[in-house]
């Protein structure tokens, strides 16, 4: 059953004063899949996320979300349509309890719409949400100040911030970065659960092995352009991809 892709990107380009950060990138994100986006540093992956989520206006190209064009819409509108994104650099409130960080998204028009009018107690919704992402309620973790949480929890908090919007697509920008192997291993079930609930994920990652456990398909970027797309095992064999990561093979 051919279904329209939930996210369709076409010929997206952006240059910053002479540096071409993203050039002619186009791809489809299918409903319910996990698409990995990989590539060496400086390939333009974060810029791509910024372009799609509305934080940066593209020079050319278009982005269609659920059939609607969102190319130049402001970020908060895009978030309200159901496309959320995480930030690599998070700045939660150090001195406030962790769950307070979710109050902001819980006040968005999208949440107000879907939960209908008076939300009741936003605080308790926030705490429930944190429990969903693995904050142990009994140990009072949701009440701890964000400043005292280890990185693994902060990443979950960031994910929870997106989930508060009950989005249909989440763009994860290097959510594994800085985490230890075991922390990543405990994060993976959460992402699988999201997928099971029908959330589509696009994950920018450097940790290839862990990413390949999750991703259905993979897209490779280098110097701002897409150089390969497909199933992980096949893509990694392509000469261009190898070249991008390892450099040209010496001849002779």
């Amino acid at each position: 059953m051919a279904e329209e892709p939930i996210l369709h990107v076409e010929k997206l380009s952006k240059s910053f004063g002479g540096v071409q950060a993203v050039f002619d990138v186009g791809f489809d994100l299918n409903h319910g899949e996990i698409l990995g986006v990989i590539g060496p540093n400086g390939a333009g992956k974060t810029t791509l996320v910024n372009l799609i989520s509305g934080f940066v206006t593209p020079d050319r190209g278009e982005v269609m979300f659920k059939g609607e064009e969102i190319t130049r819409k402001p970020p908060h509108r895009i978030a309200n349509l159901g496309l959320a994104r995480t930030f690599q650099v998070m700045r939660p409130y150090h001195s406030l309890p962790a769950y307070k960080n979710l109050i902001v998204p819980l006040n968005s028009p999208r949440v107000r719409r879907t939960r209908g009018g008076k939300l009741g107690d936003r605080d308790s919704v926030a705490i429930d949400l944190l429990e969903e992402v693995g904050f142990e309620r009994d140990a009072r973790v949701p009440y701890k100040t964000a400043g005292s949480l280890p990185l693994g929890y902060l990443k979950r908090l960031e994910l929870a911030r997106c989930m508060a919007l009950r989005p249909e697509v989440i763009l994860c920008d290097e959510i594994f970065s800085g985490l230890s192997m075991s922390e990543i291993s405990s994060l993976i079930p959460l992402l699988e659960k999201l997928k099971m609930e029908g959330v589509t994920l696009m994950m920018i990652e450097h940790r290839l092995r862990e990413l390949f456990r999750l991703a259905d398909r993979v897209m490779v970027m280098s110097f701002g352009s897409k150089i390969a797309e497909g199933i992980a095992a096949e893509v990694m064999e392509e000469p261009r991809v190898k070249e991008a990561y390892l450099g040209k093979e010496k001849t002779g």
């Binding site: 910053f16 974060t46 910024n50 934080f55 940066v56």
Partner: protein, 294 residues
């Protein structure tokens, strides 16, 4: 024709007034609200040196400029330096300094200080007389403004492109952290920037004030003009400041001749609001806000 000449002169006036402020803000991101007050202060100082101390004109001018630069430096060292990084406090503090100076000049009866009240304070023009330029009578003073203004702008350009200190200023303006890593002392540079900025305000004062009289209230006007130019021209852009000076300079002259002097300020603020609505980062502003941060 008249409009073109007076428009050009007016534009240079704006440029003179704004460049000092723009320099300081471009380099250190400090809004020096005291800019306008230093302008007026220099005017009164020169007047006092001239009339009370009977110094020769050039000496009076030079001394006031030196004092202005020292004051700018002091303002940074004793007030602003302690508040770096707290934008709210920086604004409030430099605003307070500005008021202390301006209202202080109007004080009467403290320790025998008479206070500079009334429209009687005038600085004599550097050269008296008019000259016929392309069919329009122009005072020599205005021509001096043109000449002075243009040479100052050229000098500044050369300074920031060829001298060590000037290059440091530009370095800090472009990327403070990188410059600091290269060993450029950001506080020192800020002090120099403020000293130069204040001296520029003073220079503008001695060139422009002879056209009219000196009054403390002008401090606010000058500040507003400087700010208007910076907003319209865009932050951090030399070309923007100059362009905006011309835009405003001509706009004001044209509106004065069409509608009368009363509407001057309305045109000024109107232009600002227009720019804000259409292109908030200014005509040539390099405000890559979002792109920079994300």
């Amino acid at each position: 024709m008249e409009i073109i000449i007076y428009g050009a002169i007016n534009s240079i006036v704006f440029a003179l007034i704004a460049v000092g402020f723009s320099l300081v803000y471009g380099v250190s991101r400090i809004p020096n609200f005291a800019h306008g007050s230093i302008y007026v202060l220099v005017g009164f100082l020169t007047w006092s040196f001239l009339n009370d101390l009977k110094m020769p004109y050039w000496a009076a001018i030079l001394s006031s400029l030196v004092i202005a630069a020292a004051l700018g430096l002091a303002i940074y060292r004793f007030v602003l330096m302690r508040l770096r990084g707290l934008p709210t406090s920086e604004i409030i503090a430099s605003f307070a300094v500005s008021l202390i100076i301006l209202e202080g000049l109007r004080m009467q009866g403290i320790a025998g200080f008479k206070g500079f009240i009334g429209p009687f304070y005038v600085l004599p023009p550097l050269i008296e007389g008019k000259i016929l330029v392309m069919g329009v009578f122009v005072d020599y003073q205005r021509l001096i403004i043109m000449g002075g203004g243009i040479s100052m702008l050229l000098f500044l350009w050369a300074f920031t492109h060829y001298s060590k200190m000037g290059l440091s200023l530009r370095a800090i303006a472009q990327d403070e952290q990188a410059a600091m890593m290269l060993g450029i002392n950001s506080d020192r540079v800020a002090m120099v920037a403020l000293a130069i900025g204040s001296a520029l305000a003073g220079l503008a004062a001695v060139l422009i004030l002879p056209l009219g009289n000196i009054a403390a209230e002008q401090g606010y006007r000058v500040l507003i003009y400087a700010l208007a130019v910076c907003i319209i021209g865009g932050l951090g852009s030399w070309a923007g400041t100059i362009l905006a000076s011309f835009v405003l300079g001509f706009a004001m002259i044209i509106s004065t001749s069409l509608f009368g002097a009363l509407w001057e300020s309305v045109v000024l603020v109107g232009t600002i609001i227009l720019i804000l609505l259409v292109k908030p980062s200014g005509l040539l502003g390099k405000q890559k806000e979002l792109e920079e941060r994300v």
